[in-house]
């Protein structure tokens, strides 16, 4: 009589998969995106419009807006309040939407004030704004 040797395999218990490394990785990913992301919404203001390709018609007379150091505004040389300036720009743009507005800030005016004025002009409907130096804001160091 032959006797068969029966080898019984040791049954391995099916262990539960370790979740700790997975959780570690997820937290690392979360940290990475939290620290590497920016939730601020950015925009852009044009300091100079794109150059045109030219044309036969002469450009209309630009409107001059002057900004002084304290934030005071002038419209073609006359002092003006921000609300009135917006009305004037809106009226001008309604006649000609390509109307060029030249913003002349004082050299010592802060960039934030320039940005505020650009906002005001854009909000009033101006589509073509350019930044130029105020001819009366001369620095003798330039000579």
């Amino acid at each position: 009589m032959s006797q068969a040797i029966q080898i019984t395999r040791a049954r391995r218990k099916n262990p539960m998969m370790g979740l700790t490394p997975l959780i570690d990785m997820i937290f690392l990913l979360l940290l990475f995106f939290l620290l590497g992301s920016d939730f601020v919404s950015y925009g852009q203001s044009r300091l100079a419009p794109p150059r045109g390709t030219g044309g036969n018609e002469s450009a209309p007379q630009p409107a001059i807006v002057t900004l002084n150091k304290q934030g005071g505004l002038q419209w073609n040389g006359a002092p003006v309040q921000a609300e009135n300036l917006a009305q004037k720009v809106t009226a001008l743009v309604a006649e000609d939407e390509t109307q060029l507005i030249v913003l002349m800030p004082a050299g010592e005016a802060e960039v934030q004030r320039v940005s505020d004025t650009l906002d005001l002009l854009v909000g009033a409907g101006a589509g073509s704004i350019t930044l130029e130096r105020d001819v009366f804001d001369i620095d003798l160091a330039d000579f």
Binding site: L30, S37, D38, S45, P50, E110, S115, D116
Partner: protein, 137 residues
């Protein structure tokens, strides 16, 4: 009568809800956030009430509070060097816009000098980076 207190077995904490919530957080940050911008933290860009689309330009330069221009962290550069770089990088030939990332506390004289230098170099379009502030009037 003898009452037997039932022994509660200590079960392992179910981690699946935790993982679900963390995945949701990751998804939120991925969708609502955007990669960190290309300017250093010490530059506070001007706020703007006008919402406009932001398109990163091919060439950006920083204007810090000290009214000096920088390509990156390090030494400041002159506007002449900026103009030379703009010309050599082919920005003028391709008609690409130039972006100025300016600190809100810098002065307009630097903006004007940059505007004049870029115009002289042949750059047509200059964009000032702003931060949208919808809460402002």
């Amino acid at each position: 009568m003898k009452l037997k207190s039932q022994r509660r077995e200590i079960k392992s904490i179910d981690l699946l809800p935790l993982i679900n919530v963390v995945f949701l957080l990751i998804l939120f940050v991925l969708i609502a956030g955007r990669p960190t911008t290309n300017h250093p933290q010490q530059i506070e860009v001007a706020t703007s009430t006008q919402e406009s689309d932001y398109a990163p330009a091919a060439f950006s330069i920083w204007l810090k509070q000290d009214d000096k221009f920088y390509f990156a962290e390090g030494e400041d550069v002159t506007l002449g060097e900026v103009s030379d770089w703009v010309k050599s990088a082919g920005i003028v030939e391709q008609g690409l816009p130039v972006e100025l990332i300016a600190d809100r506390r810098a002065h307009a004289k630097s903006l004007l000098a940059f505007r004049a230098a870029m115009a002289k170099a042949g750059v047509g379009e200059i964009r000032l980076k702003t931060q949208y502030d919808g809460s402002a009037p």
